[in-house]
């Protein structure tokens, strides 16, 4: 089992551009959560997807959107990038009924906005 995988590993964009990050959950998991981790900070919850619907959302602007596919993989899209979006973006997967027992995290995508 490959666990949670994310792509790409690193990404460099310029202000105003758009970016798509991808996440494949651990085998058997149906729920994907996305977090933004700025340098020196703890992860901040962006949103969670279950059954292809956004189930919960954190305090992030509409520039942040997502999608979950029938195979449970997920994408995070960020439009109109600005410098403050530079961060490590983490994806975590779980079973919806097991969310508070354990989430499995991916290695993250390091996004740099210039």
């Amino acid at each position: 089992d490959a666990g949670v995988t994310q792509s790409p590993t690193h990404l460099i964009k310029t202000r105003g551009q758009q970016v798509t990050l991808r996440c494949s959950p651990k085998s058997g998991h149906d729920t994907v959560s996305w977090y933004q981790q700025a340098l020196g900070q703890g992860p901040q919850f962006i949103f969670q997807y279950y059954e292809e619907e956004e189930r919960q959302r954190g305090n992030f602007p509409d520039r942040f959107s997502g999608h979950q596919f029938p195979n449970y993989s997920s994408e995070l899209n960020v439009n109109a990038l600005w410098l403050g979006d530079s961060a490590l973006y983490l994806c975590a997967s779980s079973l919806v009924e097991n969310y508070y027992n354990e989430q499995f995290f991916g290695p993250g995508t390091r996004l740099t906005v210039l």
Partner: protein, 113 residues
Amino acid sequence: AQTVTQSQPEMSVQEAETVTLSCTYDTSESDYYLFWYKQPPSRQMILVIRQEAYKQQNATENRFSVNFQKAAKSFSLKISDSQLGDAAMYFCAYASRDDKIIFGKGTRLHILP
């Protein structure tokens, strides 16, 4: 709004010694979960230990144990017999039922050989 505070940005401990990481949180809920996550350098975040607020007994996982003080809203992590592999960022986290998980800013733990 719920908040999680880790007042120790960095800590060091001698190998084989015991260290305690502090965490306080603020909530008006009575039913919630508390977690300690470990993020090693350039490696994936993993769950170390979790506690359900309705359980009075402190959770333990091998060398890791917590001191959960519900009235004081305190949730500290004790690592016994510290090992070099314990070096990492440790995040305290909180979640009320059916709500998102909120993380603290973390404590970087150094293990001195």
